[in-house]
């Protein structure tokens, strides 16, 4: 593969943590959707594992890079333009709290900028995601302690889901966590 362009998020600790967590729970018969695939590293690894994977990204440079490595990619905004149900939905979202004057005006912004509280995109993702889960479908969402872990757990609960932390790693003053969310089938919504 050619080198990853500067405006596409390059795999880092968070990518590896989410990738390893997803390899632990995915099964080869799963239909997988990765939102915001970036360089496509996770999607490609799950395809190698045998899962049926589709991926999205809003960044044209990311979509084109992931496509060139063989990932079936759709350029769209979160779930807009997607239908159907999936056994596993992955998202390494933009999770960094970002003040308006800290914004960088380029495509990498979409990979990093979580809005002022760090949860803007996560909020939209979790509001939409349950409708795309199969009955036992799972969400794997990577976040950081900077994003506000209790607040994100609350957003999962608001979306009618139960959560488990399935992986974590401390790096340079922040903690990365992978949350697994499932529809709470005992709860009448």
């Amino acid at each position: 593969m050619p080198i990853i362009p500067p405006q596409v998020y390059s795999p880092a600790e968070d990518t590896v943590l989410l990738l390893n967590a997803s390899l632990r729970i995915v099964s080869p018969s799963d239909r997988v959707l990765e939102i915001g695939t970036g360089s496509g590293a996770i999607a490609a690894a799950l395809m190698d594992f045998g899962a049926t994977v589709a991926a999205t990204d809003i960044n044209p440079l990311a979509a084109s890079y992931a496509y060139r490595r063989g990932v079936p990619v759709i350029r769209c905004n979160l779930f807009e333009g997607i239908r159907g149900s999936f056994d596993l939905i992955l998202f390494n979202p933009p999770y960094l709290p970002t003040a308006p004057d800290e914004r960088i005006d380029d495509w990498l912004e979409y990979a990093l900028d979580g809005g002022e509280d760090g949860r803007e995109t996560i909020r939209r993702f979790l509001a939409a995601a349950p409708a795309f889960l199969s009955s036992n479908g799972k969400i794997l969402l990577l976040i950081s302690s900077l994003t506000g872990i209790p607040e994100v757990l609350e957003l999962f609960a608001d979306a009618g889901m139960i959560t488990f932390a399935v992986a974590e790693e401390s790096i340079e003053g922040e903690k990365l966590v992978v949350l697994l969310g499932m529809k709470d089938l005992c709860r009448a919504l």
Binding site: L33, A63, P72, I74, R75, C76, G81, I82, R83
Partner: protein
């Protein structure tokens, strides 16, 4: 774009069906074409193998 992706694609605005027109393809996939939503009267492009389902007002690069 692999043909099976049609199973999971819809209009990003009305969520309705979209109609595929292929202008270039190979054995594996569709390279160029359009995905049209008749209800919204919008054509979404497939270019260099990638469907672009960003609504028209946000599709600028």
């Amino acid at each position: 774009m692999k043909r099976w992706l049609m199973d999971i694609l819809c209009c990003p605005v009305c969520k309705g069906d979209i109609v595929l027109t292929v202008t270039e393809e190979n054995e594996e996939e569709i390279i160029e074409g359009t995905l049209r939503c008749d209800a919204c009267q919008v054509n979404y492009p497939i270019h260099e193998g990638i469907p672009n389902l960003l609504p028209p007002e946000s599709a600028s690069e």
